[in-house]
Protein backbone atom coordinates (compact mmCIF):
# COMPACT_ATOMS: atom_id res chain seq x y z
CA UNK A 1 0.00 0.00 0.00
CA UNK A 2 1.47 3.30 -1.06
CA UNK A 3 1.18 5.86 1.73
CA UNK A 4 -1.40 8.50 1.02
CA UNK A 5 -0.99 12.17 1.66
CA UNK A 6 -1.69 12.90 5.33
CA UNK A 7 -1.74 15.85 7.65
CA UNK A 8 1.77 14.99 8.79
CA UNK A 9 3.25 16.03 5.45
CA UNK A 10 5.34 19.18 5.83
CA UNK A 11 4.33 22.35 4.04
CA UNK A 12 6.67 24.60 2.07
CA UNK A 13 7.24 26.80 5.10
CA UNK A 14 8.12 23.82 7.28
CA UNK A 15 10.70 22.64 4.81
CA UNK A 16 12.21 26.09 4.59
CA UNK A 17 12.15 25.97 0.80
CA UNK A 18 11.21 28.41 -1.84
CA UNK A 19 7.66 29.69 -1.79
CA UNK A 20 5.45 29.36 -4.86
CA UNK A 21 6.22 32.91 -5.96
CA UNK A 22 9.92 32.12 -6.17
CA UNK A 23 9.47 29.16 -8.52
CA UNK A 24 9.99 29.50 -12.26
CA UNK A 25 7.04 28.94 -14.63
CA UNK A 26 8.00 25.33 -15.44
CA UNK A 27 8.26 24.43 -11.75
CA UNK A 28 4.98 26.16 -11.02
CA UNK A 29 3.23 24.27 -13.82
CA UNK A 30 4.61 20.90 -12.65
CA UNK A 31 3.51 21.53 -9.07
CA UNK A 32 0.12 22.70 -10.31
CA UNK A 33 -0.38 19.49 -12.34
CA UNK A 34 0.63 17.30 -9.40
CA UNK A 35 -1.65 19.25 -7.08
CA UNK A 36 -4.57 18.80 -9.50
CA UNK A 37 -3.89 15.10 -9.85
CA UNK A 38 -3.64 14.43 -6.12
CA UNK A 39 -6.26 17.03 -5.18
CA UNK A 40 -4.00 18.75 -2.69
CA UNK A 41 -2.92 22.36 -2.20
CA UNK A 42 0.04 23.40 -4.40
CA UNK A 43 1.54 24.98 -1.27
CA UNK A 44 1.96 21.52 0.24
CA UNK A 45 4.30 20.47 -2.59
CA UNK A 46 7.98 21.41 -2.77
CA UNK A 47 10.69 20.69 -5.31
CA UNK A 48 12.08 18.16 -2.84
CA UNK A 49 8.78 16.31 -2.35
CA UNK A 50 9.12 12.70 -3.45
CA UNK A 51 6.41 10.74 -5.25
CA UNK A 52 6.29 8.44 -2.22
CA UNK A 53 5.59 11.38 0.11
CA UNK A 54 2.93 12.70 -2.23
CA UNK A 55 1.23 9.31 -2.47
CA UNK A 56 1.88 9.05 -6.20
CA UNK A 57 1.75 5.37 -7.09
CA UNK A 58 2.73 3.81 -10.42
CA UNK A 59 -0.70 4.41 -11.94
CA UNK A 60 -0.78 8.07 -10.81
CA UNK A 61 2.72 8.38 -12.25
CA UNK A 62 1.53 7.23 -15.68
CA UNK A 63 -1.33 9.71 -15.66
CA UNK A 64 1.03 12.53 -14.58
CA UNK A 65 3.50 11.66 -17.35
CA UNK A 66 0.65 11.91 -19.84
CA UNK A 67 -0.34 15.30 -18.41
CA UNK A 68 3.28 16.58 -18.48
CA UNK A 69 3.62 15.46 -22.10
CA UNK A 70 0.34 17.12 -23.06
CA UNK A 71 1.09 20.36 -21.20
CA UNK A 72 4.63 20.81 -22.48
CA UNK A 73 3.94 19.29 -25.92
CA UNK A 74 6.81 16.85 -25.78
CA UNK A 75 7.54 13.14 -25.43
CA UNK A 76 9.36 11.80 -22.42
CA UNK A 77 11.29 8.64 -23.33
CA UNK A 78 10.81 5.58 -21.07
CA UNK A 79 14.35 5.64 -19.69
CA UNK A 80 13.90 9.25 -18.55
CA UNK A 81 10.42 8.58 -17.20
CA UNK A 82 11.72 5.80 -14.97
CA UNK A 83 14.09 8.21 -13.18
CA UNK A 84 11.34 10.59 -12.10
CA UNK A 85 10.74 9.94 -8.41
CA UNK A 86 10.61 13.49 -7.03
CA UNK A 87 9.32 16.87 -8.13
CA UNK A 88 12.86 18.10 -8.77
CA UNK A 89 13.61 15.05 -10.93
CA UNK A 90 10.49 15.87 -12.93
CA UNK A 91 11.45 19.49 -13.52
CA UNK A 92 15.03 18.55 -14.45
CA UNK A 93 13.84 15.84 -16.83
CA UNK A 94 11.37 18.21 -18.47
CA UNK A 95 14.07 20.85 -18.93
CA UNK A 96 16.31 18.28 -20.61
CA UNK A 97 13.47 17.03 -22.79
CA UNK A 98 12.49 20.58 -23.78
CA UNK A 99 16.11 21.35 -24.70
CA UNK A 100 16.22 18.22 -26.90
CA UNK A 101 12.80 18.83 -28.40
CA UNK A 102 12.89 19.10 -32.19
CA UNK A 103 11.65 22.42 -33.53
CA UNK A 104 7.94 22.53 -34.24
CA UNK A 105 7.03 21.19 -37.64
CA UNK A 106 5.70 23.64 -40.16
CA UNK A 107 2.96 22.34 -42.36
Amino acid sequence: MVPRLGQNLKSVADWGCLTMSELDPLEKKVIELIAQKKRIAPESITLDSTFLELGIDSLDGMDLLFNFEESFKLTIPDEMAQQMRSVRQVTETLRTALANKPPAQTN
Binding site: K37, K38, D63, F66, E69, T75
Partner: protein, 408 residues
Protein backbone atom coordinates in the same frame (compact mmCIF):
# COMPACT_ATOMS: atom_id res chain seq x y z
CA UNK B 1 -26.63 -30.74 -2.10
CA UNK B 2 -25.78 -27.07 -1.75
CA UNK B 3 -28.57 -24.82 -3.02
CA UNK B 4 -28.20 -21.27 -4.30
CA UNK B 5 -30.47 -18.33 -3.52
CA UNK B 6 -30.60 -14.68 -4.56
CA UNK B 7 -30.16 -12.24 -1.67
CA UNK B 8 -29.31 -8.99 -3.42
CA UNK B 9 -30.53 -7.20 -6.55
CA UNK B 10 -29.04 -4.30 -8.49
CA UNK B 11 -29.86 -2.85 -11.89
CA UNK B 12 -29.13 0.04 -14.21
CA UNK B 13 -31.05 0.25 -17.49
CA UNK B 14 -32.95 2.49 -19.86
CA UNK B 15 -35.82 2.30 -17.38
CA UNK B 16 -33.73 4.07 -14.76
CA UNK B 17 -31.10 3.61 -12.10
CA UNK B 18 -32.00 1.07 -9.45
CA UNK B 19 -34.23 -2.01 -9.35
CA UNK B 20 -37.34 -0.07 -8.18
CA UNK B 21 -37.13 2.08 -11.35
CA UNK B 22 -36.69 -1.04 -13.48
CA UNK B 23 -39.62 -2.84 -11.91
CA UNK B 24 -41.89 0.21 -12.05
CA UNK B 25 -41.06 0.67 -15.74
CA UNK B 26 -41.64 -3.01 -16.54
CA UNK B 27 -44.89 -3.14 -14.60
CA UNK B 28 -46.13 0.00 -16.37
CA UNK B 29 -45.10 -1.37 -19.77
CA UNK B 30 -43.01 1.75 -20.37
CA UNK B 31 -40.40 1.74 -23.13
CA UNK B 32 -37.04 3.31 -22.36
CA UNK B 33 -36.00 3.39 -26.03
CA UNK B 34 -35.20 6.92 -27.20
CA UNK B 35 -32.92 8.91 -29.47
CA UNK B 36 -29.26 8.53 -28.65
CA UNK B 37 -27.76 11.48 -26.76
CA UNK B 38 -24.50 10.15 -25.34
CA UNK B 39 -22.42 9.95 -28.51
CA UNK B 40 -21.91 11.48 -31.91
CA UNK B 41 -24.79 10.22 -34.05
CA UNK B 42 -23.90 12.14 -37.20
CA UNK B 43 -23.20 9.09 -39.32
CA UNK B 44 -25.77 6.69 -37.86
CA UNK B 45 -28.90 5.81 -39.82
CA UNK B 46 -31.04 4.90 -36.85
CA UNK B 47 -29.71 6.61 -33.76
CA UNK B 48 -32.04 5.08 -31.17
CA UNK B 49 -31.19 2.95 -28.16
CA UNK B 50 -32.12 1.96 -24.65
CA UNK B 51 -29.84 4.58 -23.18
CA UNK B 52 -29.52 4.88 -19.39
CA UNK B 53 -31.16 8.22 -18.60
CA UNK B 54 -29.20 10.95 -16.80
CA UNK B 55 -26.25 8.80 -15.83
CA UNK B 56 -23.35 10.85 -14.49
CA UNK B 57 -20.42 8.75 -13.22
CA UNK B 58 -19.48 11.67 -10.95
CA UNK B 59 -22.57 10.87 -8.87
CA UNK B 60 -21.09 7.48 -7.99
CA UNK B 61 -17.31 7.56 -8.38
CA UNK B 62 -14.69 9.58 -6.52
CA UNK B 63 -12.99 12.18 -8.73
CA UNK B 64 -9.68 10.30 -8.83
CA UNK B 65 -11.53 7.11 -9.83
CA UNK B 66 -13.48 8.44 -12.80
CA UNK B 67 -10.58 8.30 -15.24
CA UNK B 68 -10.24 4.57 -14.54
CA UNK B 69 -13.79 3.58 -15.41
CA UNK B 70 -15.38 3.01 -18.77
CA UNK B 71 -19.13 3.49 -18.81
CA UNK B 72 -19.67 -0.29 -18.65
CA UNK B 73 -17.57 -0.64 -15.48
CA UNK B 74 -19.30 2.36 -13.89
CA UNK B 75 -22.70 0.74 -14.56
CA UNK B 76 -21.46 -2.47 -12.91
CA UNK B 77 -20.26 -0.57 -9.83
CA UNK B 78 -23.63 1.16 -9.40
CA UNK B 79 -25.59 -2.09 -9.80
CA UNK B 80 -23.18 -3.95 -7.50
CA UNK B 81 -23.54 -1.27 -4.81
CA UNK B 82 -27.32 -1.64 -4.89
CA UNK B 83 -27.15 -5.44 -4.76
CA UNK B 84 -24.55 -5.43 -1.99
CA UNK B 85 -26.41 -2.91 0.17
CA UNK B 86 -29.66 -4.82 -0.27
CA UNK B 87 -28.09 -8.12 0.72
CA UNK B 88 -27.15 -6.76 4.14
CA UNK B 89 -23.89 -8.70 3.96
CA UNK B 90 -21.09 -7.78 6.36
CA UNK B 91 -18.24 -10.22 5.86
CA UNK B 92 -15.23 -11.10 7.98
CA UNK B 93 -11.83 -11.33 6.30
CA UNK B 94 -12.16 -15.10 6.21
CA UNK B 95 -15.63 -14.94 4.64
CA UNK B 96 -14.38 -12.52 1.98
CA UNK B 97 -12.03 -15.21 0.73
CA UNK B 98 -15.11 -17.40 0.12
CA UNK B 99 -16.86 -14.68 -1.87
CA UNK B 100 -16.17 -14.02 -5.55
CA UNK B 101 -17.30 -12.06 -8.57
CA UNK B 102 -18.25 -13.04 -12.12
CA UNK B 103 -19.40 -10.23 -14.37
CA UNK B 104 -20.16 -10.88 -18.01
CA UNK B 105 -19.74 -8.36 -20.79
CA UNK B 106 -20.13 -8.62 -24.53
CA UNK B 107 -17.94 -5.70 -25.51
CA UNK B 108 -16.10 -4.47 -22.38
CA UNK B 109 -14.88 -0.89 -22.40
CA UNK B 110 -15.85 -0.26 -25.99
CA UNK B 111 -17.04 3.29 -25.27
CA UNK B 112 -13.53 4.36 -24.30
CA UNK B 113 -12.00 2.21 -27.01
CA UNK B 114 -14.06 3.97 -29.63
CA UNK B 115 -13.07 7.41 -28.28
CA UNK B 116 -9.43 6.33 -28.11
CA UNK B 117 -9.43 5.16 -31.71
CA UNK B 118 -10.99 8.43 -32.84
CA UNK B 119 -8.36 10.38 -30.89
CA UNK B 120 -5.59 8.57 -32.74
CA UNK B 121 -6.99 7.96 -36.23
CA UNK B 122 -9.24 10.96 -36.70
CA UNK B 123 -7.97 13.68 -34.37
CA UNK B 124 -4.34 12.59 -34.91
CA UNK B 125 -3.51 13.02 -31.25
CA UNK B 126 0.10 12.08 -30.52
CA UNK B 127 -0.62 9.74 -27.63
CA UNK B 128 -3.22 7.57 -25.94
CA UNK B 129 -4.15 8.11 -22.33
CA UNK B 130 -2.26 5.60 -20.14
CA UNK B 131 -5.47 4.41 -18.48
CA UNK B 132 -6.91 3.27 -21.79
CA UNK B 133 -6.00 -0.38 -21.19
CA UNK B 134 -7.32 -0.64 -17.60
CA UNK B 135 -10.49 1.08 -18.81
CA UNK B 136 -11.23 -1.05 -21.83
CA UNK B 137 -10.22 -4.48 -20.50
CA UNK B 138 -13.20 -6.82 -20.25
CA UNK B 139 -12.43 -7.81 -16.67
CA UNK B 140 -12.41 -4.18 -15.45
CA UNK B 141 -15.94 -4.47 -14.03
CA UNK B 142 -15.26 -7.73 -12.17
CA UNK B 143 -11.93 -6.45 -10.86
CA UNK B 144 -13.30 -3.11 -9.63
CA UNK B 145 -16.21 -4.83 -7.87
CA UNK B 146 -13.84 -7.33 -6.26
CA UNK B 147 -11.61 -4.46 -5.08
CA UNK B 148 -14.50 -2.37 -3.79
CA UNK B 149 -15.88 -5.11 -1.52
CA UNK B 150 -12.61 -6.91 -0.82
CA UNK B 151 -13.87 -10.17 -2.28
CA UNK B 152 -10.98 -12.60 -2.72
CA UNK B 153 -12.74 -15.73 -3.99
CA UNK B 154 -13.01 -16.95 -7.59
CA UNK B 155 -13.32 -13.84 -9.78
CA UNK B 156 -13.77 -13.94 -13.53
CA UNK B 157 -15.06 -12.14 -16.55
CA UNK B 158 -17.13 -14.10 -19.00
CA UNK B 159 -17.83 -12.98 -22.54
CA UNK B 160 -20.40 -14.87 -24.58
CA UNK B 161 -22.01 -12.00 -26.48
CA UNK B 162 -25.72 -11.65 -25.65
CA UNK B 163 -25.64 -14.53 -23.15
CA UNK B 164 -22.71 -13.20 -21.10
CA UNK B 165 -24.71 -12.30 -17.99
CA UNK B 166 -26.71 -15.53 -17.94
CA UNK B 167 -23.56 -17.59 -18.31
CA UNK B 168 -21.87 -15.50 -15.60
CA UNK B 169 -24.76 -16.01 -13.17
CA UNK B 170 -25.06 -19.71 -14.02
CA UNK B 171 -21.36 -20.37 -13.59
CA UNK B 172 -21.28 -18.36 -10.36
CA UNK B 173 -24.06 -20.58 -9.03
CA UNK B 174 -22.03 -23.66 -10.01
CA UNK B 175 -19.07 -22.32 -8.04
CA UNK B 176 -21.29 -22.06 -4.94
CA UNK B 177 -22.79 -25.52 -5.55
CA UNK B 178 -19.29 -26.97 -5.85
CA UNK B 179 -18.36 -25.50 -2.48
CA UNK B 180 -15.69 -23.19 -3.87
CA UNK B 181 -17.45 -20.10 -2.53
CA UNK B 182 -20.46 -19.22 -0.38
CA UNK B 183 -21.25 -15.86 -1.96
CA UNK B 184 -20.92 -14.61 -5.54
CA UNK B 185 -21.61 -11.09 -6.79
CA UNK B 186 -22.53 -11.75 -10.41
CA UNK B 187 -24.30 -10.46 -13.48
CA UNK B 188 -23.42 -8.52 -16.58
CA UNK B 189 -22.65 -5.06 -17.88
CA UNK B 190 -22.32 -3.46 -21.28
CA UNK B 191 -22.20 0.02 -22.81
CA UNK B 192 -22.24 -0.56 -26.57
CA UNK B 193 -23.66 2.81 -27.60
CA UNK B 194 -20.54 4.09 -29.34
CA UNK B 195 -20.62 5.33 -32.95
CA UNK B 196 -18.50 2.62 -34.55
CA UNK B 197 -20.26 -0.13 -32.62
CA UNK B 198 -23.77 1.01 -33.52
CA UNK B 199 -22.65 1.45 -37.13
CA UNK B 200 -21.34 -2.11 -37.17
CA UNK B 201 -24.67 -3.39 -35.88
CA UNK B 202 -26.44 -1.40 -38.57
CA UNK B 203 -24.30 -3.15 -41.15
CA UNK B 204 -25.61 -6.52 -39.98
CA UNK B 205 -29.10 -5.29 -40.89
CA UNK B 206 -30.60 -6.47 -37.63
CA UNK B 207 -31.38 -3.07 -36.06
CA UNK B 208 -34.89 -1.66 -36.06
CA UNK B 209 -35.34 1.62 -37.95
CA UNK B 210 -36.13 4.49 -35.63
CA UNK B 211 -39.32 5.71 -37.29
CA UNK B 212 -41.29 8.58 -35.80
CA UNK B 213 -41.54 7.15 -32.30
CA UNK B 214 -38.44 5.34 -31.01
CA UNK B 215 -40.43 3.90 -28.09
CA UNK B 216 -42.35 1.70 -30.53
CA UNK B 217 -39.35 0.49 -32.55
CA UNK B 218 -38.73 -2.78 -30.72
CA UNK B 219 -41.63 -5.21 -31.29
CA UNK B 220 -40.73 -8.75 -30.21
CA UNK B 221 -42.96 -11.58 -31.50
CA UNK B 222 -45.22 -9.13 -33.35
CA UNK B 223 -45.75 -9.83 -37.06
CA UNK B 224 -44.48 -6.32 -37.84
CA UNK B 225 -41.26 -6.73 -35.84
CA UNK B 226 -38.36 -5.05 -37.53
CA UNK B 227 -35.22 -5.89 -35.62
CA UNK B 228 -33.48 -5.28 -32.34
CA UNK B 229 -32.68 -2.05 -30.55
CA UNK B 230 -29.41 -1.77 -28.65
CA UNK B 231 -29.50 -1.00 -24.97
CA UNK B 232 -26.97 -0.48 -22.20
CA UNK B 233 -26.68 -0.94 -18.46
CA UNK B 234 -25.85 -3.53 -15.85
CA UNK B 235 -27.58 -6.09 -13.70
CA UNK B 236 -25.91 -7.61 -10.65
CA UNK B 237 -27.25 -10.11 -8.12
CA UNK B 238 -25.86 -11.51 -4.89
CA UNK B 239 -25.96 -15.29 -5.01
CA UNK B 240 -25.58 -17.06 -1.71
CA UNK B 241 -25.51 -20.62 -0.47
CA UNK B 242 -28.98 -21.20 0.97
CA UNK B 243 -27.96 -22.32 4.48
CA UNK B 244 -25.58 -19.37 4.73
CA UNK B 245 -28.37 -16.98 3.81
CA UNK B 246 -30.85 -18.60 6.20
CA UNK B 247 -28.41 -18.58 9.13
CA UNK B 248 -28.01 -14.82 8.86
CA UNK B 249 -31.73 -14.21 8.30
CA UNK B 250 -31.21 -12.70 4.84
CA UNK B 251 -34.09 -11.67 2.61
CA UNK B 252 -34.27 -14.39 -0.04
CA UNK B 253 -35.79 -13.13 -3.31
CA UNK B 254 -35.82 -16.46 -5.14
CA UNK B 255 -33.88 -19.68 -5.54
CA UNK B 256 -31.59 -19.94 -8.54
CA UNK B 257 -32.55 -23.55 -8.96
CA UNK B 258 -31.19 -24.52 -12.35
CA UNK B 259 -28.76 -23.58 -15.09
CA UNK B 260 -28.32 -24.96 -18.57
CA UNK B 261 -25.50 -24.16 -20.98
CA UNK B 262 -25.13 -25.57 -24.50
CA UNK B 263 -23.64 -24.67 -27.86
CA UNK B 264 -25.31 -24.94 -31.25
CA UNK B 265 -21.95 -25.89 -32.77
CA UNK B 266 -23.61 -24.75 -35.98
CA UNK B 267 -23.72 -21.23 -37.32
CA UNK B 268 -21.99 -18.03 -36.17
CA UNK B 269 -25.18 -15.91 -36.21
CA UNK B 270 -28.26 -17.99 -37.11
CA UNK B 271 -29.96 -19.50 -34.05
CA UNK B 272 -30.33 -23.25 -33.61
CA UNK B 273 -33.23 -25.18 -32.09
CA UNK B 274 -31.81 -28.39 -30.61
CA UNK B 275 -29.11 -26.83 -28.44
CA UNK B 276 -31.26 -24.08 -26.89
CA UNK B 277 -33.94 -26.71 -26.19
CA UNK B 278 -31.30 -28.85 -24.49
CA UNK B 279 -30.22 -25.87 -22.38
CA UNK B 280 -33.79 -25.38 -21.15
CA UNK B 281 -34.09 -29.10 -20.34
CA UNK B 282 -30.77 -29.02 -18.45
CA UNK B 283 -31.92 -26.05 -16.36
CA UNK B 284 -35.23 -27.74 -15.54
CA UNK B 285 -33.50 -31.03 -14.70
CA UNK B 286 -31.05 -29.39 -12.33
CA UNK B 287 -33.92 -27.47 -10.71
CA UNK B 288 -35.96 -30.65 -10.38
CA UNK B 289 -38.84 -28.93 -12.20
CA UNK B 290 -41.25 -30.49 -14.64
CA UNK B 291 -42.06 -28.37 -17.72
CA UNK B 292 -45.66 -28.12 -16.44
CA UNK B 293 -44.50 -26.37 -13.25
CA UNK B 294 -43.08 -23.44 -15.23
CA UNK B 295 -45.57 -20.62 -15.71
CA UNK B 296 -43.41 -17.75 -16.95
CA UNK B 297 -40.66 -17.57 -19.56
CA UNK B 298 -38.57 -14.43 -19.91
CA UNK B 299 -37.70 -14.87 -23.57
CA UNK B 300 -34.51 -13.95 -25.32
CA UNK B 301 -36.98 -12.18 -27.65
CA UNK B 302 -34.68 -9.90 -29.61
CA UNK B 303 -37.38 -8.83 -32.10
CA UNK B 304 -35.44 -10.08 -35.11
CA UNK B 305 -37.49 -12.14 -37.58
CA UNK B 306 -35.46 -15.26 -37.06
CA UNK B 307 -34.91 -15.20 -33.30
CA UNK B 308 -38.54 -14.84 -32.28
CA UNK B 309 -39.96 -17.54 -34.54
CA UNK B 310 -37.09 -19.90 -33.65
CA UNK B 311 -37.53 -19.29 -29.93
CA UNK B 312 -41.23 -20.05 -30.29
CA UNK B 313 -40.34 -23.37 -31.93
CA UNK B 314 -37.86 -24.12 -29.13
CA UNK B 315 -40.46 -23.48 -26.42
CA UNK B 316 -43.01 -25.72 -28.17
CA UNK B 317 -40.45 -28.47 -28.47
CA UNK B 318 -39.54 -28.41 -24.77
CA UNK B 319 -42.93 -27.64 -23.26
CA UNK B 320 -45.23 -29.46 -25.72
CA UNK B 321 -48.90 -28.65 -25.12
CA UNK B 322 -47.95 -26.72 -21.97
CA UNK B 323 -46.27 -24.09 -24.19
CA UNK B 324 -49.75 -22.61 -24.83
CA UNK B 325 -50.26 -22.15 -21.09
CA UNK B 326 -46.98 -20.29 -20.58
CA UNK B 327 -46.77 -16.55 -20.18
CA UNK B 328 -43.84 -15.60 -22.44
CA UNK B 329 -42.53 -12.05 -22.60
CA UNK B 330 -39.60 -10.11 -23.97
CA UNK B 331 -38.64 -7.21 -21.76
CA UNK B 332 -36.13 -6.16 -24.42
CA UNK B 333 -39.13 -4.33 -25.89
CA UNK B 334 -38.65 -1.88 -23.01
CA UNK B 335 -34.94 -1.85 -22.09
CA UNK B 336 -33.51 -2.81 -25.47
CA UNK B 337 -30.92 -5.46 -26.12
CA UNK B 338 -28.36 -4.76 -23.41
CA UNK B 339 -25.90 -7.27 -24.87
CA UNK B 340 -23.84 -8.78 -22.07
CA UNK B 341 -26.11 -7.22 -19.43
CA UNK B 342 -29.38 -8.56 -20.88
CA UNK B 343 -29.46 -11.86 -19.03
CA UNK B 344 -29.01 -10.13 -15.67
CA UNK B 345 -31.67 -7.44 -16.20
CA UNK B 346 -34.01 -10.15 -17.48
CA UNK B 347 -33.31 -12.25 -14.39
CA UNK B 348 -34.35 -9.23 -12.31
CA UNK B 349 -37.55 -9.05 -14.38
CA UNK B 350 -38.11 -12.75 -13.67
CA UNK B 351 -37.55 -12.19 -9.94
CA UNK B 352 -40.22 -9.47 -10.11
CA UNK B 353 -42.68 -11.95 -11.62
CA UNK B 354 -42.10 -14.32 -8.70
CA UNK B 355 -41.88 -11.87 -5.80
CA UNK B 356 -44.44 -9.28 -6.92
CA UNK B 357 -46.74 -11.55 -8.87
CA UNK B 358 -46.49 -9.20 -11.85
CA UNK B 359 -45.46 -10.66 -15.19
CA UNK B 360 -43.87 -7.95 -17.33
CA UNK B 361 -45.39 -7.50 -20.79
CA UNK B 362 -44.04 -7.56 -24.33
CA UNK B 363 -44.78 -4.01 -25.41
CA UNK B 364 -45.35 -2.85 -29.00
CA UNK B 365 -47.10 -6.11 -29.78
CA UNK B 366 -49.46 -5.21 -32.61
CA UNK B 367 -50.14 -8.07 -34.93
CA UNK B 368 -50.11 -11.85 -34.46
CA UNK B 369 -47.54 -13.78 -36.47
CA UNK B 370 -48.50 -17.36 -37.42
CA UNK B 371 -44.90 -18.36 -36.62
CA UNK B 372 -45.16 -16.84 -33.15
CA UNK B 373 -48.36 -18.23 -31.70
CA UNK B 374 -47.85 -18.32 -27.94
CA UNK B 375 -49.09 -15.98 -25.20
CA UNK B 376 -46.59 -13.12 -25.22
CA UNK B 377 -48.33 -11.05 -22.51
CA UNK B 378 -49.02 -8.33 -25.08
CA UNK B 379 -48.64 -4.70 -24.03
CA UNK B 380 -49.89 -4.92 -20.46
CA UNK B 381 -48.32 -6.46 -17.38
CA UNK B 382 -50.31 -9.31 -15.89
CA UNK B 383 -51.00 -10.10 -12.27
CA UNK B 384 -50.27 -13.76 -11.94
CA UNK B 385 -48.81 -16.10 -9.33
CA UNK B 386 -45.48 -17.44 -10.58
CA UNK B 387 -43.74 -20.18 -8.61
CA UNK B 388 -41.27 -21.29 -11.26
CA UNK B 389 -39.86 -19.45 -14.25
CA UNK B 390 -37.00 -19.56 -16.73
CA UNK B 391 -34.97 -16.86 -18.44
CA UNK B 392 -33.47 -17.57 -21.87
CA UNK B 393 -30.33 -16.11 -23.42
CA UNK B 394 -29.25 -17.31 -26.85
CA UNK B 395 -26.12 -15.59 -28.12
CA UNK B 396 -24.54 -14.93 -31.47
CA UNK B 397 -22.02 -17.68 -31.88
CA UNK B 398 -24.59 -20.27 -30.87
CA UNK B 399 -23.94 -20.13 -27.13
CA UNK B 400 -27.03 -20.70 -25.02
CA UNK B 401 -27.67 -20.11 -21.32
CA UNK B 402 -30.90 -20.71 -19.43
CA UNK B 403 -31.55 -19.89 -15.77
CA UNK B 404 -34.41 -21.48 -13.80
CA UNK B 405 -35.86 -19.65 -10.80
CA UNK B 406 -38.13 -20.98 -8.09
CA UNK B 407 -40.06 -19.16 -5.38
CA UNK B 408 -37.96 -19.29 -2.19
Amino acid sequence: MRRVVITGLGGVSALGIGVPALWDGLAAGRSGIRRVTICDTSFLHDPIAGEVPAFDPADYLAPDQQLLFDRFAAFAMVAAAEAWAGSGLALSDEERERAGVIIGTGMGGVTRQDEGFRDLYEKKQPRSHPFTIPRIMYNAAASHVSMKYGLGGPTLCLSTACASASHAIGEAAEIIRAGRADIMLTGGSDAPIAPAVVRAWESMRVLAPCGDDPATACRPFSADRQGLVLGEGAGIVVLEEREHAMRRGAIIHAELAGYGATADAGHITAPGVDAPARAIRQALAQAGMTPEQVSYVNAHGTATRLNDSTETTILKRVFGDHARALAVSSTKSMHGHMMGASGAIELLATVMAITRGIVPPTVNYRKPDPDCDLDYVPNQAREMKVDAAISNSFAFGGLNAVLALRRA
